[in-house]
């Protein structure tokens, strides 16, 4: 399973944009992600990868770009 492609697909569903060439874009600064979209992302990740990412583990500085999200997901899959 290609984690990066899957994460990008989830992000595309949520933000309505293909982010594959903006892997280091800050998604909160650009307004593509907000609290609402974040929760959707966490739920999607939970369903897709069967990983638990509780809201209190969600630190914006560690989840703000597609690259960082991919890295986080990989570390949570273990």
């Amino acid at each position: 399973m290609d984690v990066q492609a899957e994460v990008l697909q989830l992000l595309n569903n949520i933000t309505g944009e293909d982010l594959s060439n903006q892997m280091d874009e800050d998604l909160f600064d650009t307004g593509l992600l907000d609290s609402m979209a974040t929760v959707e992302l966490l739920l999607d990740l939970e369903n897709k990868f069967n990983i638990q990412a509780p809201v209190s583990e969600f630190n914006r500085d560690e989840w703000n770009t597609p690259n960082k999200i991919v890295a986080k997901v990989k570390s949570l899959i273990g």
Partner: protein, 402 residues
């Protein structure tokens, strides 16, 4: 012994800065003198709550409160190491907010006003920190209870009375380490800047807005024979709004500056809120540690629960319901008066309208340029000022208690 209210007069700063010298020297040489930090903190907390009977009473209330909360968090952490039941989590959360709920109910004067005796300056901020810890323990993010860490976090002296509201894990990382010299020097230079800016805000600007102009505008409004509307309400609104900002932002700058001197990276509370382009932007800039607390511990968790259990079909409904409940709760937190609750609802529905507009704008490619942005800032500023007029409670006096 004298009573010293935090940041209230220039002498407070003189005493506090002198007392912090040994700590600062230690940090400069790469050592955090924990016992000294605790000692200075205890002395200054003691000075907040001594003097006359009413302050001493608050001091006792603080001691009882902190024992109660420490026992709760301690017990829950122990419980959580082996079990994780949802009802237990809710019961513990309710027990931890019980003191502030009682104080708020007593504050209405309608029912058991003597309960207000369990209150003290800063109770709501201590409650935010404690409840945040309980929630993170529930999530498994906090695994251990260390009484000294708990006390140092919840009772952190510079932020005891009115925030900013830090987070436990962030705070602990700071007190377990020592900033390197370059970082600490940067903290000190920021601290100096923030102290001077704070003086300007609190002792100059807030003084003129709050102690000089606001009372004048209020008296003019109250002298108006019309009991429903007075043109003087408009200057009341703006002077109050600026007074609120400069007073609270000034206070917050002091708290952050003292935190820096103590080697703690206390989070900022304000980021040029009057330059916000919309209401959502405003809540990312105004009393940030409070609004982020509500965002992380109320809004996001509410949305998470609602989406997971599919309460509503549409995500728009979900977020709208969460906005209103979130801001309503914030209104209740300020106090059980019609104007605080209206203020909460005002911002809740304001965010709903704001989101609808942002969706419309995206869909219809509404033109965007310097003028529309300027207009957006102007509009947001005035909407916020109207909300402050509600919040300040003057309308209550103006309409009902002349």
């Amino acid at each position: 012994m004298p009573n010293l209210q935090p940041y209230a007069d220039p002498m407070y700063f003189v005493y506090l800065l002198i007392a912090l010298v040994p700590l600062a020297v230690g940090l400069y040489f790469g050592k955090r003198i924990n016992w000294y930090e605790v000692l200075v903190s205890l002395v200054f907390i003691f000075l907040m709550f001594d003097g006359d009977a009413s302050h001493i009473h608050q001091g006792y209330a603080l001691i009882v409160y902190i024992i109660w909360e420490a026992l709760l968090v301690g017990w829950y952490t122990k419980y959580r190491q082996s079990k994780n039941s949802t009802p237990v989590f809710y019961i513990v959360t309710i027990l931890s907010i019980l003191p502030i709920v009682a104080v708020r109910i007593a504050g209405t004067g309608l029912f058991k006003p003597e309960l207000s005796l369990i209150g003290f300056l800063g109770i709501s901020y201590l409650t935010f920190r404690t409840v945040g810890m309980i929630i993170e323990t529930r999530d498994g993010s906090i695994k251990e209870f260390k009484p000294m860490y708990y006390l140092r976090f919840v009772l952190f002296m510079p932020t005891l009375s009115s925030g900013p509201i830090d987070r436990y894990r962030r705070f602990i990382k700071d007190i377990e380490g020592v900033p390197d010299r370059a970082t600490y020097l940067e903290y000190l230079s920021k601290a100096v800047k923030y102290l001077f800016l704070g003086f300007l805000y609190k002792f100059v600007l807030a003084h003129y807005f709050g102690d000089v102009w606001l009372p004048y505008c209020k008296s003019m409004a109250l002298a108006d024979p019309n009991h429903f509307w007075s043109w003087w309400l408009i200057p009341v609104m703006y002077t109050y709004g600026f007074d609120l900002f400069f007073d609270f932002a000034g206070y917050s700058l002091f708290a952050v500056a003292i935190g820096y001197i103590m080697g703690i990276d206390v989070p900022m509370n304000f980021n040029q809120p009057f330059r916000s382009k919309n209401l959502k932007d405003f809540w990312n800039r105004w009393h940030m540690t409070l609004s982020f607390w509500f965002r992380d511990y109320v809004f996001m968790r509410l949305v998470f629960t609602m989406m997971k259990n599919k309460w509503f079909k549409s995500r728009i409904t979900t977020s709208n319901v969460a906005y209103v409940l979130n801001m309503l709760l914030m209104g209740f937190w300020h106090g059980l008066t019609w104007y605080y609750i209206t203020y909460g609802l005002f911002h809740g529905f304001g965010l709903v309208i704001n989101d609808a507009w942002l969706r419309y704008k995206k869909k219809h490619n509404v033109p965007h340029n310097k003028f529309t942005e300027g207009f957006a800032i102007f509009l947001t500023f005035n909407v916020v000022m109207v909300s402050f007029l509600i919040f300040c409670g003057f309308l209550d006096t103006f309409w009902f208690h002349r």
